[in-house]
Symmetry: C2
Subunit: 151 residues, 2 copies
DNA sequence: GTGAACAGTTCAACTCTTGAACTAGTTATT
DNA sequence: AATAACTAGTTCAAGAGTTGAACTGTTCAC
């Protein structure tokens, strides 16, 4: 394939991801009202998935500085959704866990996001969605390689 | 398909888009250095695509309040990348256009974004990328329907 | 035991965002 | 023509997320 063709493909990808991200982002934000921001929801989601995790882990997953995570976690902690537990053996490490309240609000928020997004996924046939996800996951997987170097 | 299956699909979609967006976002940001933020780049890109546009148009496309656009445009204007031209007939309307400098910096930034993203797209076969884009564009298209109501 | 490395936090400065209040211009109504 | 209603855009205060530098504690290696 020549250069021009790749530019066309890039342009199409750019346009599609722009639209999907802005639209979904806006709908999700609206659904979560003043309870959680999108970043707060994603933070709870990540911690929930792994049971507990550290600031450093979150910073790597979110591709941001650790201080950005500290800020988000502090807000979630003030709202009573997250615990900060120091490791007994290595006292530098702080484990982040959901509180009871945090579990509840995460459940609620995840349901809301599902309600917003799933109707749009349901317009696809079972075969289409499988094909799409396989390719999207492939993209996610390669974009994740060589992840150690930056930040 | 039953509910559980849709939840699985939703989870897979959530995970893939999270990874791709965070990774690409981080790489693009790094490439654009202190010249442009991602939102500024997307704003220049949108204006470039349509030749000129208004604050209201941008706000709808980006799914944000008009005042958010005013802020971004003001910064781009201070940097000398954007003109504000009042419509002669309807003097409420302000047309936003790229300056010479704006055209140049957009060209540069678009090239940078292309350099970051295209290597990851190139791992797909021609058939795969076409299938993926068709489905992604379908998702973009349906997510864009019913766009008039909100905000 | 000292110095290097690491985990996490604090801080100032910036960008983006909202929502309310506002200016200025246009359209509709009577 | 005068008033009211609407529209385009801006300003402002407040809040969220981000960076990068400087900092506190803690652990590890020599």
């Amino acid at each position: 394939m020549d250069v021009g063709k790749w530019q066309t493909i890039f342009g199409r990808y750019e346009a599609a991801s722009f639209t999907v991200n802005k639209r979904f982002g806006s709908l999700v934000k609206e659904k979560l009202q003043d309870v959680l921001t999108i970043d707060q929801q994603m933070t709870l989601s990540y911690i929930k998935r792994f049971g507990s995790c550290t600031t450093t882990e979150l910073a790597e997953a979110f591709c941001v500085n650790k201080s950005a995570i500290t800020a988000i976690v502090t807000r979630l902690n003030e709202k009573g959704y997250i615990h900060r537990d120091r490791d007994e053996k290595d006292r530098r490490i702080v484990y982040l866990r959901l509180t009871e309240e945090g579990e509840k609000v995460f459940q609620w928020a995840d349901e809301k996001v599902f309600e917003v997004v799933s109707p749009y996924l349901k317009i696809f046939s079972e075969e289409e969605i499988e094909t799409f996800l396989k390719l999207y996951e492939k993209l996610a997987s390669v974009s994740n390689e060589g992840a150690g170097e930056e930040k």
